[in-house]
Amino acid sequence: MNRIQKLLQEKKDIFSAYFTAGYPHLEDTMPVLEALQEAGTDLVELGMPFSDPLADGPTIQKSSEDALENGMSIKKLFEQIKDMRKTIDMPIVLMGYFNPVFKYGVEAFVAKCKEVGVDGVILPDLPFDEYNDKYQQLFEDANISNIFLITPQTPDERIKLIDANSNGFIYMVSSAAVTGAKSGLSDQQLAYFNRVNNLGLSTPRIIGFGISNKETFTTACKYASGAIVGSAFVKLLAEKGADKVSINDFVKGIKDTSEK
């Protein structure tokens, strides 16, 4: 069992944060990770910046642009996190677009993930069939969970197929949107969560997109194993930098009151 599977088995109301590696400053990756862990974060999605992030809204676009400007790259990221397992116990998921990973070499990438202690990978534009055909064995042999996205438009049949081929969690995108588009969860979205929950899936779900505060986090946790805060956290980093105190306040402010 990897850290993701263990976490999802043991915990509910999982608080997960996304941020872009190398942002706001190149060497902020580890300090932000450490501050998140100290504040009680359960799981982190560490963004690998890309020049053309077509599923992201303005906040994460800007963080990617800045991180690249700072000199961030996959190579650099693996250097930064090579000793993270000395201090970090949270499951770590690398999230990014396929091209930089393809260019790095998928095999080398997975090997490096294993070496430094990364537990999962989210590559939104790596299609299911391509993964299934070419890379699933590679990921599974390395015990790295490949995390798929589903959306309100994903047909039930496809959700079941994704479920059967997942071993970490399913990233349940809350609405037809790019990241950071809006906050608040409508009845329509809740109906979609219910629909998915009634499919009898074996893989737990974590909800992301549009989760920005205590209220949306708490609601999302009623419908899934947890939720991911992305743009709202990146906005905090943009304003306050890798500041321990404000990161602590941010995480506690969303998480602590979520007990149902």
Partner: protein
């Protein structure tokens, strides 16, 4: 032509090792839906009737195949110009937008989005939308909006909303990202009308089929104009590759016809200021398609350069990557200067002011050897009106 051709897309959306649909799950239902219906629509009698009638009476087809006598004399061969510049809106782009707008209508879509670089595809899309009374939003890089003011005004006059892409390099690739984001957010009522043989499957194939009218006409026109059964060469410029794909389409399986695609090498292939994707790029994924693209060692997509705004796309349509891989087509490149020289030459020998993009195709004449009895077809993808400012600056008129 047979769908079994080894140069055509296969059932998985691949051209050999290129193509596919590398898209986030948010776009999957839209793409799946389009994939399901596009061939049935295109092959339906109703579509063909409407499409062909619009091409004839609205676009002004067939476009002439013109024997350029003085140009031919100069190069010691027979040069036939396929005059896409004479189409309504001044380029081949309209063949595609008129076709896709009909597909969108068949699918019941009410809102059309498009990306544009120089504004040619944006204008062609806005035109088709005006014709059909559909809402039109065109994404254009902020930098391009400033560089291409007349086309921005044209789109607005046609009733389109022009939205500035403000991310990244603020040019064509960013406008494409922005259009894809819009589509992610509006999956139900919106149709994404892509302007070239790029993007996720089925777009490259759909656009190629809609541009195939170019080679369909060349095929009968060459018989009419010469005693040959087929042209010896077909030459076209490549940005994303739609006019080239259309010019090649009906000749793909006829290996007697030599196919030549001309990329823009800007200041020179190795200058660092180039858009010669085949020459300088390597394999990757851009805008949902696996193909050659210009990228850094870290896999970040880099901004290409060419004097011609329609050719500075960092990728190339997967069909052309495959034609290159299989050596079915020869891919060469022309610099800014060579294109400018060819533009002036055509203008003064034949009285035709070509688009800068098309001038790259013309530059092949000085780069290749042709026999006196060869029939060399060059596609003039567009007219030069939009490039007059560049011509004025560069030639000092």
């Amino acid at each position: 032509m047979s769908d079994k051709s080894k140069y055509q897309v296969d059932e998985n959306g691949m051209y050999g090792r290129f193509g596919g649909a590398f898209i986030p799950e948010m776009l999957q239902p839209n793409i799946d839906n389009l994939k399901k219906v596009y061939l049935d629509i295109i092959n339906s009698e109703a579509f063909q009737k409407e499409y062909k009638s619009l091409l004839k009476d609205y676009v002004g087809r067939p476009s002439p195949l013109y024997l350029a006598k003085r140009l031919s004399e100069k190069y010691g061969t027979n040069v036939y110009l396929k005059r896409e510049d004479l189409n309504h809106t001044g380029a081949h782009k309209i063949n595609n937008t008129v076709g896709q707008i009909l597909i969108a209508k068949h699918m019941g879509k009410e809102r059309i989005i498009a990306e544009t670089g120089a504004g040619q595809h944006g204008v062609a899309t806005a035109t088709a939308c005006a014709l059909m009374g559909l809402k039109c939003v065109v994404y254009m890089g902020e930098v391009d909006i400033k560089r291409q003011a007349p086309n921005v005004a044209r789109m607005k006059m046609l009733g389109a909303e022009v939205k500035a892409a403000q991310s990244g390099s603020k040019t064509l690739k960013d406008a494409t990202n922005e259009a894809m984001r819009d589509w992610i957010c509006n999956p139900e009522d919106t149709f994404y009308l892509i302007g070239s043989v790029v993007g996720p499957h089925p777009y490259p194939d759909m656009v190629a089929r809609l541009q195939a009218i170019i080679s369909e006409e060349i095929a009968w026109q060459i018989k009419e104009k010469t005693d040959k059964e087929y042209p010896d060469y077909v030459i076209a410029c490549v940005g994303g590759g739609s006019n080239a794909a259309g010019s090649f389409y009906h000749f793909l399986d006829d290996e007697r016809v030599k196919l030549v695609a001309v990329e823009a090498s800007g200041m020179g292939v190795s200058s660092g200021e180039t858009a010669a994707t085949i020459a300088m790029g390597d394999l990757g994924v851009i805008h949902g398609s696996k193909t050659f693209l210009m990228q850094s060692d870290d896999g970040q997509i880099t901004e290409p350069y060419s004097i011609s705004a329609g050719l500075d796309y960092p990728g190339i349509g997967p069909i052309h990557a495959h034609l290159h891989d299989t050596k079915r087509a020869t891919i060469i490149s022309a610099t800014d200067q060579e294109a400018l020289d060819s533009a002036l030459e055509l203008t003064q020998l034949e009285g035709i002011i070509p688009a800068l993009e098309s001038s790259h195709a013309l530059a092949a004449l000085g780069k290749m050897k042709f026999k006196p009895d060869d029939a060399v077809v060059i596609t003039i993808s567009g007219r030069g009106d939009k490039d007059m400012e560049t011509y004025m600056n560069r030639f000092g008129f």
